[in-house]
């Protein structure tokens, strides 16, 4: 029991470190090789966790090797397009110039239901609105609508708003973040001035966001005066 407990803790740390080392990606955005590595790591870790007769190293070494392979493979994919195509494949156009590419869909073993499901997830409810649809290497569908079906942008309507820069969380639960302040081009003095103006103290703030223009939004902590 105690061995399983300690091993699980150790493997948890190792897996978190391994996933962190491989880089941040959403599960739904995993490339083929990343998905394989993630599945294998979870399987490998579970064996020494449950079977105390197996040495922990027997799980750690394969995990390390997979992480090494994944880092090298991703590095090589950046440098070499051919290798990237070998591992990840290439994006496939399933609707070209408004025409459904049936051959490509057959190659992908993609049904019309699959196509419509993915189009609906992209807020497209009629296939006639689509100019191009591309199945990306991670399996997601990118859609380009026909020009007359596109939503008008602020630029098209001549209603462009001034750029207020990035809105960042400068205070979170009473903690001031210098990194976030730097991102929105502000400093501690500016925050102090704002808080003085509002008659607030730093520990009273649950959330404060700010942008480069100097707009801010404050949420007080519950129970603060």
């Amino acid at each position: 029991m105690a061995i399983s407990f300690v091993r699980t803790l150790l493997l948890y740390i190792v897996i978190v470190a391994a996933v962190r080392l491989m880089g941040k990606r959403q599960i739904s955005e995993l490339q083929t090789s990343e998905l394989v590595v993630t599945l294998l790591i979870s399987n490998l870790a579970s064996v020494p966790m449950q079977d105390t007769g197996k040495p922990l190293v027997g799980g750690l070494v394969p995990i390390s090797v997979l992480v090494i392979c994944e880092i090298f493979a991703s590095g090589l994919m950046v440098k070499n397009g051919f290798f990237r195509r070998m591992i990840c494949g290439r994006p496939i156009i399933v609707i070209y110039n408004g025409e459904v590419q049936q051959r490509e869909m057959r190659r992908l073993r993609m049904t019309t239901e699959d196509l419509f499901e993915q189009l609906r997830q992209k807020d497209v409810f009629s296939i006639r609105d689509v100019a191009y649809a591309i199945v990306e290497t991670n399996g997601k569908l990118s859609v380009i609508k026909k020009p007359d079906k596109e939503q008008p942008t602020a630029g098209m309507l001549n209603a462009v708003q001034p750029d207020t820069g990035l809105e960042t969380v400068v205070i979170s639960d009473g903690q001031l973040s210098d990194v976030s302040l730097a991102l929105c081009g502000k400093n501690r003095n500016w925050v102090e001035n704002v808080l003085n103006k509002e008659g607030l103290l730093l520990p009273d703030i649950f959330l404060m966001t700010a942008n480069a223009k100097g707009d801010y939004f404050i949420v007080r902590k519950e129970g603060s005066k």
């Binding site: 080392l21 880089g23 007769g53 197996k54 040495p55 027997g58 070494v61 090494i68 880092i71 590095g75």
Partner: protein, 126 residues
């Protein structure tokens, strides 16, 4: 780029650890095989005293090596050898000679298997 260097370092560490594992297993099994073979020969030659001393030494050496081997080898595999080696001095003193010789052969076969199983040759890989 830092990740790639870390991956290189990790790969190097893994390879070094694997090579050290193989050489350590080889060293231990060679030493243990020599001791048990000598004990077996002594028993066959009728020198029960020497056989007892050597089998006790084998059990002691194995006990010392066990902790390191346990880091990377199947515990059940080590436990089987444990049991046989612990019983050898007893068999030598009070048991039958045939049983002693048979257990020596058994443990020698296990040392051979243990040493061979660590080598990354085609048979072991596939």
């Amino acid at each position: 780029m830092k990740r790639v260097w870390f991956a290189f370092a990790l790969m190097l560490a893994t390879i070094v650890a694997s090579v050290l594992g193989i050489s350590h297993t080889r060293r231990i099994t060679d030493r243990m095989t020599a001791t048990v073979t000598q004990a077996k020969s002594a028993q066959e030659d009728g020198d029960a005293g020497k056989a007892l001393r050597l089998s006790e030494q084998a059990a002691e050496d194995w006990h010392d090596a066990h902790d390191t081997l346990g880091v990377y080898m199947e515990h059940t595999e080590l436990h089987q050898i444990d049991q046989i080696l612990c019983g050898l001095p007893e068999l030598c003193e009070h048991g039958s000679e045939d049983q002693f010789l048979s257990d020596c052969d058994k443990v020698l076969a296990q040392f051979h298997y243990m040493s061979e199983s660590e080598i990354p040759n085609l048979r072991n890989i596939f």
